[in-house]
Subunit: 351 residues, 4 copies
């Protein structure tokens, strides 16, 4: 069908097959090619999907007029050269997280796509889960009021990665979700990271990352490779309501609590702020039904719609840049032992 878009998946390793499968089964897309230096790996994937073309040559892919977009699922250090070449060839790009291996190179990618009028999207898959989409909707509709805090816990027995610490391994999930949920995106005024390496593995295996937001709100992520219990929980405290997302609870994943603390701000002028002015709401709890849908299917839909309509995707290059900026600031805070002031001019722009 002439209206569908052609796509090539670059990289057939861990994540590429998931991307390829979702492009293949989407009515919006034609999966045109799988590109990997390891042709055997590419061919095995193509066979499972019913015979897509395979190639080891990125140039072939970029020269193919039937290909409108590329999905990059290669190691982080190669994201920048592949994406820049693709943009130069006029292809739309979706790229795995982290968007690049440094904020400077990420900014170049964002600028190049902007200049060429092409879509640059970051594959923040978690943002397209039914739970996160529902939370974004609740926030957008004002159900939570002002956001006071976001607290995320992501702990489990995890593989100690050879190349990255626990912040870079796990926190991108938490940060990309926060970026997606916060009305202005993830633009903290300061970042503080504390980490520990109690097994002498050569990198932080336990980490605590705090962010102070304009207006006084706080964000926090606890990431841990050494926990025998598995927890994936996000709490968003709002001035009106609070939402708790327990990603491992089978039946009630998102719960909205109509409880909280009310401070009578007007009454406080000129007098001591006393506990007598606080009131507590103990209201109902509510768990919205969530549709069951694979997040990656929603992500490839979003990519197609951004290309077709010309609007930015909900997880665009700027969101990838904002997440990367916080990770870099966290690493710097970890090294220096101080809160790391972030300069917004250097980071991603607010949404």
């Amino acid at each position: 069908m002439t209206r569908t878009l052609g796509v090539a998946v670059i990289g057939a390793g861990y994540w590429g097959p998931n991307l390829a499968r979702n492009f293949q089964y989407s009515p919006d897309w034609r999966l045109e090619a799988i590109c990997d230096l390891d042709l055997d790996r590419a061919s095995a994937l193509a066979a499972r999907l019913g015979g897509v073309r395979v190639t080891a040559s990125l140039d072939d892919v970029l020269a193919d007029p039937a290909i409108d977009a590329v999905a990059i699922a290669t190691p982080a250090r190669t994201h920048h050269p592949i994406a820049m070449a693709a943009i130069a060839a006029g292809k739309h790009v979706v790229v795995e997280k982290p968007i690049a291996d440094g904020t400077q190179r990420a900014r170049e990618m964002v600028a190049a796509a902007d200049a060429a009028g092409l879509v640059l999207m970051t594959d923040h898959t978690y943002c397209y889960t039914p739970a996160v989409l529902k939370m974004r909707e609740l926030i957008a509709e004002g159900h939570l009021g002002d956001i006071l805090y976001i607290d995320s816990v992501r702990i489990n027995l995890g593989i100690i990665q050879p190349d990255v610490d626990v912040f870079w391994d796990l926190a991108p999930h938490d940060l990309s979700i926060m970026d997606f949920l916060l009305p202005g995106g993830l633009v903290p005024e300061s970042v503080t990271a504390v980490g520990a390496d109690p097994l002498s593995a050569g990198k932080a295996c336990i980490g605590y990352l705090s962010m102070m937001f304009p207006g006084g709100a706080i964000g926090h992520a606890h990431v841990n490779w050494l926990s025998p219990t598995k927890i994936r929980q996000l709490v968003i405290g709002g001035s009106r309501r609070t939402v708790v997302w327990d990603d491992l609870s089978p039946q009630q994943r998102v719960s909205v609590y109509d409880r909280g603390v009310d401070l009578d701000i007007q009454a406080l002028d000129g007098i001591d702020r006393a506990s007598a002015l606080i009131s507590y709401r103990l209201g109902d709890t509510w768990s919205p039904a969530l549709q069951e849908r694979e997040a990656l299917a929603a992500m490839v839909d979003e990519f197609a719609e951004a290309i077709t309509t010309g609007r930015p995707p909900r997880t665009d290059g700027q969101s990838g840049l904002r997440v990367l900026s916080v990770l870099e600031a966290a690493s710097q805070s970890l090294q220096t032992g101080t809160a790391q002031e972030r300069l917004n001019a250097y980071a991603g722009e607010p949404r």
Copy 2:
């Protein structure tokens, strides 16, 4: 009976009645007097306990030879003068947390009691709960191996206190428990605190407190007055096993997980620390039965036994001083936005 010890309770406000009741029902103690400037309050308490003597005069209490010890449950700023007077009068002392309103004054109290050969105890009540006593036993017997991390969460809708922030309100519980459990007591090398006041209440209502310990272990406490869900959970990760204490779970409060990560340290000399050298244990989980006993009853037992045998109580003045030192360091970190190096010479001594 001549072997029992005489005690007076100073302060009949919030906590004094609990102390008085437990002294009254203990076979080790004779409750001799209740002392409070508000004689009506003291008399009401005495009546409920069957007619104990009441007085508004601390001097009367300290002059009474039938009184061997005093329990101080007055505001924190009065702990130092009352305790110093009691020690000068030859009385043993147990004092509410925090032990004093500053580390300098706490050190004077510790030094005075030492010089006089008297017991100075801090009433860290949580340490005497069956769950914490069991965890201390597990650690002492080597079940957990080396401690890698302690993570504590204590969140709930709480009253915004007029005089203290959320750290000083809630974290003393977590810190006193960590002090009790860590083999050398709570002597971190550095303390980092991050807090937020998103309601503009004039003080931190949400707090994250990190401590780096010698050898690479980390401690962390999350305290929050604004959470609609109530969580009180402590995780102690060890090199051999990990224990999880869920204080609100009715049936399985303490669970020991025989799971974890093994790093083959010997094999790592001179080579790259690779994930291939890591192995995972997925062993059994075990929840020891806990006896039901009021913590404060065990605390007054401990006070009597320390006096009778001459050994230091398990939560002595030094432990109160160590907890206070961390709280002060946290406040300083909060103000300066930096990790606060703690000098051990200024803090409590390790156990």
Copy 3:
């Protein structure tokens, strides 16, 4: 105040003190006397409540014109003679469960109170908990639709009672709640009980009680003294929604599930009932906030209001009779090993 009602509590054993305390603290009631053959026990209770009159003579109580009502908390076999004497003396009566030790005697009590125009109430305390009151409201307002099933589980390590089996010890709670919630009260068409005594204790320690209701709904109670885990859970399946009450869950005691099975009844006429005609709703879940209030305080309010207004109390003598009838039918089913048809003429009347 002249409008308050005078009450005497008969029996100062296990439950009497709770009744006396709630009458004492209610603005609707004057606690006039405590009556018990054991005067020491009565006096001790009176002292704790501030000096109420005590007596060992029921006649004194019944002759006192200041006493409008009596609350009977004596052994079950004495309920009938005390209540009949009280009614004869013109007193309103509230009586502990079971209302009597046999349905014939219970019917006499109901008839006598009716004839005298006096209130006869059964103290089904559980019905006055905030959770059960909320469920009754949800049902009355049509939130659940038609009731399809009620399933109750009440299991725990329990004391093996010397005089009654597990059905008579625990099931009155479940049955009185079902009687309170079912629109017509607890009037099953048949009762089937299966019990086991695997420890040879001389009576059933594990029991399963089933009831078939007119229209096809089913009720079931699982009671068990030998379970190491404690469960108290009630599920009410409705044609529109289903409610789950977990009495031990600290935070979400009552949850309403907007999920279920829809059968297109019209479409089934004359054709095979096929699975294609079934549809599933997977809607939201909702937990209403419950006010915290002692159930017994609400019960004594209800007693006062029934007397003052002349309307029957929500747990009247008929409800006590209906519960008793099911327990007797269960015992008979247990003995004969058959489903026990219940004749409504012999049981309590529907509400």
Copy 4:
């Protein structure tokens, strides 16, 4: 390799593909053929497994000397003729549950296999899950002591089956597990079933099934298609310990409670059985680690080992017959409304 066994899978519908896959990946087996009247369905399955032979002719399969055994995954009413033909042809047989559509025909199958010296196995897949295997081991080693009760709950929103009621749809799982765990197999003295059809679907959608075992123990299964919450829980109460299996709990599937009631039986001779003679144990709880393995892989291993060694498989034809006998007795109890005495001569023999 000459030692492997050849097998054909009969039926390529819902369950056949799972059987075929596990035979294909087992080192003990050669998957020789897939047999289905629908050759397209058989061919599609064969293609996914790499080109196994397909046929629509059972005669071809039975005539093939390379085929040692057949796995029957066809509708229940065809189990008997296919199994009898296979046995006549000298093939070992594993058959889906229920083993046949009537006990008489199941007994013929058992007798024929016995006479021919062939293995007849029932595919009670749940029995080969790591959790059930561990519970069987705990019982065999005496950890639980005598079994006092088994209580199983299996409820969920389920499809209302066109041909069977909720007992025949869900209870085979519970009954086959109980048969596997009880030392003598599932040989109750009586069976009582109560069911309800509150939606007028034409068959029971909610069911309660009770079984009295020799010696006083009881078994109970609650099955329900209309529950909005999903529960799969089995409790086995023993005289020494109790085990709880929560099939949906991600982390602690099997928990052993060292708690219970001790009745001093000796002391009870000739005297009243009083509560004073009961003591309670409140011991530790323990959750054994379970290996992760697909149950069906363990099932095909067991089939091979039974054939090779000549011992009966752990879920043999007799176990299928015992489960079927209880289901038939339940249906009869449901119709007559009475407890159904079971005659062991008609049912499967005890293990």
